[in-house]
């Protein structure tokens, strides 16, 4: 069948070259080949948001992105959020509010929150709930997550683009 495809991409600011099969998803390439296991496989069909990441600055479900489609594009994952100075304000607020239990959905929620705050730096509670409709959490009941995102918004001003 088909040969492996050569892909050049930028992941968390680092230029990366890789070989993939056409049938691999971006999520599979990240987790299985590049060992970036921050993005999680939940439903694997676009319902749960556990595999969320940023592709050219837009939030996407990486389980539904075909790997060869990322050639020449820019990817940001949860692994790129903390800096040498410390955690990203969203990560810090998720800790302070205990907005996670098992943690599987957390990277997806944090990426979704980052994408929302880039567009809407002063969200209402309704905005946060509406925006995170594509993220499922089976532990927390969402309340702590919503509060963590609302609390992080002021600290994120100008930093979440």
């Amino acid at each position: 069948m088909s040969k492996k495809l050569h892909v050049q991409t930028t992941i968390n600011g680092k230029e990366t070259e890789l070989l993939c099969e056409a049938r691999q998803s971006l999520l599979e390439v990240l987790r299985d080949d590049l060992r970036l296991t921050g993005a999680k496989e939940g439903c694997n069909n676009g319902n749960c948001g556990a595999c969320n990441l940023m592709l050219d600055g837009r939030l996407v479900n990486s389980c539904l992105v075909m790997a060869p489609e990322i050639d020449g594009r820019k990817i940001e994952t949860i692994e790129g959020m903390a800096s040498a100075q410390g955690l990203h304000p969203l990560q810090q607020k998720f800790l302070e509010h205990a907005a996670l239990q098992c943690g599987i959905c957390t990277p997806g929620f944090i990426l979704a929150a980052k994408a929302m705050l880039a567009k809407n730096p002063t969200p209402s509670e309704g905005d946060v709930r509406h925006w995170h409709a594509g993220n499922l959490c089976r532990c927390t009941g969402y309340d702590k997550i919503i509060r963590a995102v609302l609390d992080a918004a002021p600290a994120c001003a100008g930093k979440c683009s």
């Binding site: 069948m1 837009r58 939030l59 992105v65 075909m66 489609e69 050639d71 925006w131 409709a133």
Partner: protein
């Protein structure tokens, strides 16, 4: 998932040249939200996938005096956020902005929305050999059919049309720019959708070597709106959808040239003729809108589990008309 050869043409002409004269072996890739899912479920197993992501022409939006042209590769998010589209066609911007959640709207394209496969659970189940695969039976007819058609329109497959953009575009009188090896042509959106009834058929009337290039919407000053009934506020498929457009009809003025198109109730978008007649040349009030809603159910033949949709049709039509007329949405607190 079965592996496939991946192509990324730079022009529509190149994409067309890669297609075949039957569906199934070669598939077009828009945002991937439908195709990749179908491949994982082994419902679609193409040997070749032609990505449209590298074709810049499909990304343009042109707003001219008489018509607006939206490239088929535009994402639903970019349509829902486009200031001029929001102003001219609130029905379109709202419908695009209510599909799924933000991630999927960032990926899913306009062309993909129009050409996506239906969501019937028998069709989507690898092991159910339904009418649209190589079987001879529509399992929904005697099976679990609460989300299926109430206007079956004589179709043997009773899955509902999945596109919520389709009914809106019919209400707005749009046309679809289609390209194949012979050149470009315009397909009136009312003739775009077709009920599939056998293996190898699709939910649209295009051929397997056609590519949807753009959608053209005439600018006619139509008042328009869209309303959909869902079980959840967001990230959910609608159960019933109503798209409406008309001239006038605001601030007690009479509505003329009324179009009312229903989604999620039939194998193709359903033009509710009786409802259109009921409200034509009337001013839009809760009473006239409710009467149009009742008329919209005329001719319905529900299946064993979906008679409840008739009430939802009444509600959706009434609310879409009221929204378009500028009335305050009384159903929101």
């Amino acid at each position: 998932m079965k592996n496939f050869s991946y192509y990324r043409p730079a022009t529509v002409e190149q994409a067309v040249s890669l297609l075949e004269n039957r569906f199934g072996n070669t598939e077009l890739l828009g945002g991937g939200t439908d195709l990749h899912d179908l491949q994982k479920e082994y419902v679609s197993q193409p040997a070749r996938v032609v990505s449209l992501g590298g074709i810049a022409q499909l990304q343009t939006v042109q707003v001219a005096e008489k018509s607006v042209t939206i490239g088929a590769g535009r994402t639903l998010a970019s349509i829902s956020e486009h200031p001029q589209l929001r102003q001219l066609f609130p029905a379109l911007a709202t419908a695009a902005g209510e599909i799924a959640g933000p991630q999927l709207r960032n990926m899913a394209t306009l062309g993909g929305n129009l050409c996506q496969r239906n969501r019937c659970w028998y069709f989507r189940d690898e092991h159910s050999n339904c009418l649209l695969k190589s079987g001879s039976t529509c399992f929904a007819l005697d099976g679990e059919n609460k989300y299926h058609s109430v206007f079956t329109q004589g179709s043997r497959c009773v899955a509902v049309t999945p596109s919520t953009i389709g009914p809106v575009l019919i209400a707005l009188g749009a046309s679809v720019e289609v390209q194949n090896a012979a050149g470009k042509r315009l397909v009136e959106i009312g003739r775009f959708f077709k009920a599939p009834n056998a293996n190898g058929e699709r939910e649209h009337a295009l051929a397997s070597n056609d590519v949807v290039v753009a959608v053209q919407i005439p600018v006619q000053g139509l008042t328009n709106a869209h309303y959909e009934v869902r079980q959840k506020l967001s990230s959910d498929w609608p159960i019933v959808q109503a798209a409406v457009s008309f001239q006038g009809g605001r601030n007690g003025e009479k509505a003329t040239d009324v179009k009312i198109v229903l989604g999620q109730v039939a194998p193709v978008p359903h033009v509710a003729q009786a409802a259109m007649r009921a409200i034509e040349n009337q001013s839009i009030t809760e009473q006239t809108a409710a009467a149009a809603g009742q008329a919209a159910t005329q001719g319905a033949k529900p299946l064993s589990q979906n008679a409840y949709k008739l009430k939802l049709i009444e509600v959706a039509v009434k609310r879409a008309l009221l929204l378009a007329s500028g009335a305050r949405p009384y159903w929101l607190a």
